[in-house]
């Protein structure tokens, strides 16, 4: 069977899967946080581009790697603020505003990139995050290479899974975010700010999305180029539904998608002679549609998702 088993058991396959999954983990957590508060953020694709560009450019301009990560997160939060203001107090269509943010954020990123580098033909490189070499752990068979030779950003992504889970399930803030995504009146009746909670959640979620973009230019690759986000944001929107708005399942979904993607690259080399490569490129997306069809039927949507709420209107 084209040695599929051999592929599935190889260290490099799982290592690649986790690497491919990392930006998706950030993105899907970000989308999950926004949607838990009741706001769909279709700005995700553009915020990915902005995160990728800002992270890369900050390093290129001389910032430290972690400083650049912070800058990318801030840029994401700003676009989140814009989306939040448009959709929460102003109550505009979340779809329209989100798509506008995507167009705006990606165009602004390309524009800034071109303005800063008008003449370069090949994108300049930066020194990206290097795989962390943790003594002992990295030398463990199988687990070592898969888990402990990733860059720091992958570990940050895994930590964020825990963080988002903890905030949503263990803190008072998380309870309020879940409540505002289910019935904003419940929060308003307690004198808490519906607008504040929603805008805050959208900003935090957008910052996470931008980190997913930053991973692309600062860890997966070492340069910024056009079209590099390539639909990852949209995949995250689908993965949230697959994950039924649970951080743990979101991680699972991201890794599953990463594995599909890693598998198709390897299968191409095995059977590329008989099957056109486009089939393999499309495979992860087709599989995620199937996964969605199965998972989405049971998904429990936040009840107030997409529904604007206005103060004094009850």
């Amino acid at each position: 069977m084209f040695d599929i088993l051999q592929i599935l058991l190889s260290e490099s396959f799982w290592s690649a899967s986790l690497r491919i999954a990392t930006p998706l983990i950030f993105g899907v957590l970000g989308a999950l946080l926004c949607e838990k508060s009741g706001v769909l953020n279709l700005g995700i694709e553009g915020i990915f581009v902005a995160g990728a560009m800002v992270g890369w450019m900050a390093v290129w301009l001389g910032a430290g790697l972690w400083g650049a990560v912070l800058a990318a997160a801030l840029a994401g939060a700003l676009f989140g603020l814009l989306h939040g203001i448009l959709t929460v107090p102003l109550g505009l269509s979340q779809h329209v505003s989100g798509l506008a943010i995507t167009l705006f954020a990606s165009s602004l990123s390309y524009f800034s990139y071109r303005t800063a580098l008008p003449t370069v033909s090949s994108p300049p490189r930066i020194g990206p995050f290097q795989p962390l070499d943790i003594p002992i752990l990295s030398d463990l068979p199988f687990i070592g290479p898969v888990l402990f030779q990733q860059t720091a950003l992958t570990f940050l992504a895994l930590f964020c899974v825990f963080l988002v889970w903890y905030v949503l399930n263990k803190t008072a803030l998380g309870v309020a975010i879940k409540a505002v995504g289910d019935n904003p009146n419940s929060v308003d009746a307690q004198g808490l700010s519906v607008y504040g909670l929603r805008i805050g959640a959208v900003m935090a979620g957008s910052a996470l999305m931008a980190l997913g973009g930053a991973f692309l230019t600062m860890s997966a690759f070492d340069a910024f180029f056009f079209g590099m986000v390539n639909g990852r944001g949209w995949i995250c929107i689908a993965l949230v539904i697959f994950a039924s708005w649970r951080p743990g399942k979101a991680l699972l979904g991201a890794i599953l998608f990463g594995a599909f993607d890693a598998l198709q690259v390897r299968l191409q080399t095995e059977v590329g002679a008989f099957v056109p490569s486009q089939v393999f490129l499309a495979a992860p997306y087709i599989l995620s549609i199937f996964a969605l069809v199965i998972a989405a039927r049971r998904a429990e949507y936040p009840r107030a998702l997409l529904t604007p709420w206005f103060k004094g209107q009850r």
Partner: protein, 505 residues
Amino acid sequence: MNSNKVLSLKNLSKTFGSVKANENVSLDLHRGEILALLGENGAGKTTLMNMLFGHYMPDSGRIEVADDAGHFSDLVLGHPQAAIAAGIGMVHQHFTLAENLDAVDNIMLGAEPLTRMRRNRHEAEKKINALMENSGLSTPLDVPAGRLTVGERQRVEILKALYRNVRILVLDEPTAVLTPQEADTLFENIATMAAEGLAVIFISHKLREVLAFSHRIAVLRLGKNVGEMATSEADEQKIARMMVGSETSLPIRQAATTGAPVLHLEALSVVGRGRRDSLKAVNLTVLGGEILGIAGVSGNGQAALAGVLSGMMTPEAGKIILNNEEVSQIDPAQMIAKGVGRIPEDRHRDGIIGSMSVAENMIIEGVDGHRFQKNGLLKRENITEHAKALSVEYDVRGPGIAAPAQLLSGGNIQKLILARVFDKKPLLILANQPTRGLDMGAAADVARRLIEARSRGAGIVLISEDLDEILRLADRILVIHDGEFAETHTRDRAELGLLMAGQAA
């Protein structure tokens, strides 16, 4: 009771656009007192309570609240948090629970600072359990609120207020969604809490419970105070007169002669949307000239019954025989053609097309004949004439027959629907919650029309959650519970209540 004043609303006014919702309304409340706040729809009760709780900012006026020691101070207006801090709790008519959270989380929401990183659910649960024991209000704590019954949800709402140590509790139409038994239990619990010092204001339309459980009655009309009285000195007529401002007489049902069956359901099964909202092989006969009342708590199969009779739901099994003829194909147009008149439950959503004119809404079920159209072209003159005549006959008031129907008030929308339905002289009338949300005058009008139709020989299926309405209008009563009918001859509220709760009387 007199010296123990805890709350004083002084000359509160609030205007929405050109509507004066409240005008110089004043109200006092004492420790341990249960005050019933009454008024017709639009009299400004809910607006007043929303100002008290800080949801609305009054245009003018003050609110004074006593602290534990009895010292009065001004409440900061327009801030729910200030109201909560002052010991005021409100249970809204539409519950404000997050259905994805359990009771404990719902109760704790907002009671602890958002910055708290580790919540003490355990401690909270202990306190809630103690509260449940003291007040008699019990509810499961670890189930998402969306899966609780309406009564349980309401108890969570009240517990939410008690958890914040309220001294003043406001309940907006607390029994609108409860069975009579649940309502009685609720008021017994409230009485217990009031005896311990809680001051309670409740809004209600049900005069019976107002008379049975309140200490004092305050009435609003058109946004103004019109009177107050001790409950011991009140009776239904007195209150009704104060609310409406004139005498309204409820129509009196006289014995009528019944005719041949107009509707017959045989072993009819319908799968509804909700968990319990289906019909399980039910049988039913409606005779011409009778009003059959279907009593029950909503969500027990009423929607499925109404859906089938209006042609909007297809049964799984069973027969529908209308006027001795089996209905083979069920769709709305067929049912109308076979003489079914429909007064839908949600009159705004299903009864009218809001953006179309009053005149158009009046002919919406009759465009297949040649009276209002020819070859697909509308006959405007006939339509206008028809609408004018019906508006006069059924007293539909509003900005005119050319105006969009959504501009009419709820009562006038209902009159529009009655005009459309009754003008066709239907054999069978499905009246689903026909007076819900209407004020007394409009409700009396609807009742009168139904009785008229019955005298003419129509069979009427009256679905209502208002037991008083059923008792007043129905010739025969069926209780619906969990998709099944129980025929009953009793007119006793308590027995009917038990049947509504699914317990055999």
